[in-house]
């Protein structure tokens, strides 16, 4: 286990290093002058040149990268031009919001997807089964931006059930979580259904039925428990997927998460902030994938963490 963790940590470091090099190179080969973006259109050319010097942008590329990495290793990702604050502070203050949204979205997927999948498996080929299929199709085919605006208009503006975006209590979380999570409900339903249909045909289920247990006890206590493992894997994989997936939801709902921060950084050509959001997000994704692997081994003893 310890050997496994060390190996995973080392390979993660390589991934992070690679990501930092690629992002850095991409940004610096863009024909954009960050000093001009900082100074605005009306600043004189001499003023821009002085600012470029102050920012260290006139140093050779390798030197800039070296300084960047040296500082990053100490947790200092530089100073955002666009927000006028340290990048680490800016990104870390937004992470909790994004995580809250991601977990709420996964919650929506599970709470709606699992029962629907169980029902579809129990009443195979019935109208419920059909509904699950249609929902899966609708979920993947409705763009979150459109869905978000639709929800806002209908449930917040017309009906006044929820606030028009922003953060606050639970009522602020409902619409964004639904918008982000609904796309996955159908997937979870399909996955639960096929996994459960397989389990329901297995020998241990026949044994349970033979013991004279009620059908619902058989399904919920025996079959579902065994069908759960692929669902846990899927939920784990959802975290990195949602890091990118909630960006649009954050934009629509004025949700102050890290995704919106990244978009603002890109639109403002704010190089340190782009680097910071990308690298710190990558760190989160890498860390969450390690946690998921460990969690899987814990849930299913058949899985071993090979060093």
């Amino acid at each position: 286990m310890t050997r496994y963790l060390v190996r995973r940590a080392l390979s993660s470091l390589t991934v992070l290093f690679g990501i930092s090099v690629v992002t850095f190179a991409m940004i610096y080969f863009l024909p954009v002058d960050p000093a001009r973006m900082y100074a605005g259109p009306h600043a004189s050319v001499e003023t821009v040149a002085r600012i470029r010097h102050q920012m260290g942008l006139d140093l050779p590329l390798w030197d800039q990268y070296g300084r960047y990495v040296a500082r990053a290793l100490q947790g200092d990702f530089g100073y955002s031009y666009d927000l006028q604050m340290p990048v680490t502070e800016a990104v870390l203050s937004r992470f909790p919001y994004t995580l809250e949204l991601i977990f709420a979205a996964i919650f929506v997927e599970l709470v709606l997807g699992l029962p629907l999948g169980v029902a579809a498996a129990v009443w195979k080929n019935s109208w419920i089964d059909g509904l699950a299929t249609v929902l899966a199709l609708l979920g993947v085919s409705s763009p979150p931006f459109w869905l978000g605006l639709l929800f806002l208009y209908f449930f917040a503006f017309q009906l006044g059930l929820f606030p028009l975006g922003g953060v606050g209590g639970l009522s602020h979380l409902v619409l964004p979580a639904l918008t982000a999570g609904l796309g996955g409900v159908g997937w979870y339903a399909r996955m639960t259904r096929s996994s459960l249909v397989e389990a329901l045909g297995a020998d241990f289920v026949r044994t349970a039925r033979a013991k004279g247990l009620s059908e619902w006890t058989v399904v919920l206590k025996h079959a579902v428990k065994n069908a759960l493992n692929p669902i846990v894997t899927m939920a784990g994989q959802d975290i990195p997927w949602f890091v990118g997936g909630v960006v649009v939801v954050e934009m629509v709902y004025a949700w102050p998460g890290v995704g919106r921060l990244a978009v603002e950084a890109i639109l403002a050509d704010d190089v340190p902030l782009i680097m910071g959001t990308v690298t710190l997000t990558a760190l989160l994704v890498v860390a969450s994938s390690i946690v998921i692997d460990i969690a899987q081994a814990w849930i299913d003893p058949r899985i071993r963490l090979e060093a």
């Binding site: 863009l30 024909p31 954009v32 001009r36 973006m37 900082y38 100074a39 605005g40 259109p41 009306h42 600043a43 004189s44 050319v45 001499e46 003023t47 821009v48 002085r50 600012i51 102050q54 100073y79 031009y81 666009d82 927000l83 006028q84 203050s93 929506v108 709470v111 709606l112 509904l131 249609v134 929902l135 609708l138 869905l147 605006l149 929800f151 449930f155 917040a156 503006f157 006044g160 059930l161 929820f162 606030p163 028009l164 975006g165 922003g166 953060v167 606050g168 009522s171 602020h172 409902v174 979580a177 639904l178 609904l182 629509v252 004025a254 102050p256 919106r260 921060l261 603002e264 639109l267």
Partner: protein
């Protein structure tokens, strides 16, 4: 048939989604459906005695409230809440004293400016403002360590060059004569120095607070202004409250100002319609503009005000075939500007010259080039291009700019020019246009020059003068005329206002004769706000400050 099927499918999709949502609300503990949103502290409909809380929403977060650093249209009006300058503007473009007790005494050659300060003006930390604070604030803008984008405005003060180069520890042209008198000596005549002292960069900051917060002063601003800064939650909201000790009687009228950030314009419009906010900071989304403008219910919730800006096509005078003035003139006659206004939903007026109508020096007698494709084609033939040519135009990738560029494409096709449109994001476009010989034509829509201060020189030196026709500069026509340069040098020191404006009229007439731009339209602000907001059009959209929060009131 297909259409009907698609619509049926749309309803089905909606019904499906709806059922899931209703199931969620009813079947789980996600959120009690009947609960009313706690966030809707509707400012409208409050009793008259209630606190007057004004809320505005923007899409982008503000960068900073440090007046030496901020340089865009979202943070300027917010800075104006917390700080004051020595001078300010009235409802239009005339300078009036603010922290100064009167307009400055100016030497006959416009090189020495003496300001007398008001007595008893206090910073929000309780300390009285003195001339030392003014000297400190301007010196701070010049200090390279501040990285102020506005440093260039004050480089004309004597000794500024030496100070910036590190050869002097203070700026010799800034002298504090007594606690209430300060004198600026310039190295060459400049009648626009008063305007420069009314810019946000010249707002007065207290040294002890700047030193206390260092680089983070922009998030903890302290000034003398009508509102005191309360809090800033990045990505969410900024809060300001009334400064009860403000030196001007009667203002501000509001008790609190809340600036919401991170709100997409589509959502901000919904919040406004619902009465959750009092004003939209961003323009109304193009898709909603026609509906809002034609709806009688919106009539008292819309304020229009002209913007002191000209949106233009810059013609690169150093790229063939635009080196020939006849080709540039042909372009001026080929563009159908009325169609552009239509594409903008009426948000603007046709321009026939470089200076916008509100700018002193604008020439109401000048007719400009007529829209005459036949004449344009003839000019092209005379220049040796009877069959036209191919060229490219850079265009911002933000709606509605690409549509406008396509309209130009049609116009130019009529006279035989095949236009290739390159749609770019702003950083790339600016870098491209600022590279010599790279881009033949640039459409300035979305990036256009809006005045820093109401003086015609602000439309010459930074965008059409020789000093800006350099890499990274903003002179996208790459035009440099030594003859005009000499005239401008003379004009900037003229103290007789009428003679001076006449001199600028001649300069801008010459620029139009040389056809360095196609001036297409002058911008207009269309502001959406609550029916209960009281203010003059220039309080919603002031030519210099955009929003004047201290003048606004709620019914």
């Amino acid at each position: 048939m297909l259409g009907r099927m698609r619509r049926a499918f749309g309803y089905l999709a909606f019904a499906g989604v709806l059922s899931v949502v209703l199931a969620a609300c009813g079947g789980t503990s996600l959120g009690p459906a009947g609960e009313s949103p706690s966030g809707s502290e509707a400012p409208s409909g409050q009793a008259p005695a209630a606190k007057k809380v004004f809320t505005i929403a923007y899409k982008d977060d503000l960068a900073t409230l440090d007046p030496a650093v901020g340089y865009d249209w979202t943070n300027w009006p917010a800075e104006k809440m917390v700080f004051d300058g020595l001078l300010d503007y009235d409802d239009t473009t005339n300078l009036v004293p603010q922290l100064a007790e009167s307009l400055p005494e100016v030497s006959p050659d416009a090189t020495v400016y003496t300001f007398h300060l008001r007595h008893g003006v206090k910073f929000q930390n309780g300390r009285e403002l003195t001339a030392d604070d003014v000297a400190y604030s301007i010196t701070r803008v010049l200090d390279p360590a501040t990285k102020s984008p506005g440093a260039g405005f004050y480089m004309g003060i004597q000794g500024a060059q030496d100070f910036v180069a590190g050869k002097a520890d203070h700026v010799s042209g800034i002298e504090v004569l007594d606690p209430y008198t300060i004198r600026f000596t310039l190295s060459s005549p400049d009648v626009t120095f008063g305007n420069k002292m009314a810019l946000n960069f010249a707002f007065v900051v207290p040294k002890e607070e700047v030193e206390k917060y260092g680089a983070d002063f922009g998030h903890h601003p302290v000034g003398t202004g009508p509102f005191t800064f309360v809090s800033w939650t990045p990505g969410q909201e900024l809060v300001f409250k009334k400064n009860p000790d403000y030196f001007k009687p009667g203002v501000p009228k509001l008790d609190e100002v809340h600036i919401q950030v991170g709100v997409e314009p589509e959502v901000a419009l919904l919040r406004l319609e619902k009465g959750e906010i009092d004003m939209m900071g961003d323009p109304i989304p193009t898709a909603d503009l026609a509906r809002v403008l034609s709806d009688p219910a919106w009539q008292d919730r819309i304020t229009k005000a002209p913007q002191v800006s000209t949106i233009y096509i810059a013609i690169n005078t150093r790229v063939k075939p635009f080196t020939d003035v006849r080709v540039r003139q042909a372009l001026n006659m080929a563009i159908d500007k009325d169609r552009v206004i239509k594409l903008l939903g009426g948000q603007g007026t046709v321009a026939n010259q470089i200076l916008p109508p509100l700018m002193p020096g604008y020439d109401p007698d000048y007719q400009g080039y007529p829209y005459d494709p036949a004449k344009a084609k003839q000019l092209l033939a005379e220049a040796g291009y009877p069959d036209g040519f191919e060229t490219t135009m850079d265009c911002l990738d933000v709606d509605p700019q690409p549509k406008i560029c396509q309209s130009f494409q049609q116009d130019l096709a009529q006279i035989g020019i095949k236009l290739d449109i390159k749609t770019l994001e702003s950083g790339t476009l600016i870098a491209d246009a600022g590279t010599e010989g790279k881009v033949p034509l640039v459409w300035s829509g979305g990036l256009a020059w809006i005045q820093d201060y109401p003086d015609p020189d602000d439309f010459y030196s930074p965008i059409l003068g020789c000093g800006s026709a350099v890499p990274g500069g903003w002179n996208w026509a790459w035009y440099c005329n030594q003859d005009l340069e000499a005239k401008e040098q003379k004009a900037i020191g003229m103290t007789d206002r009428e003679a001076r404006l006449q001199a600028y009229r001649e300069i801008f007439r010459a620029l139009m004769d040389d056809a360095v731009w196609v001036p297409v339209y002058n911008g207009e602000y269309i502001i959406a706000h609550g029916a209960n907001v009281v203010g003059k059009p220039t309080d919603f959209a002031h030519p210099e400050h955009t929003i004047r929060y201290e003048q606004l009131d709620l019914k």
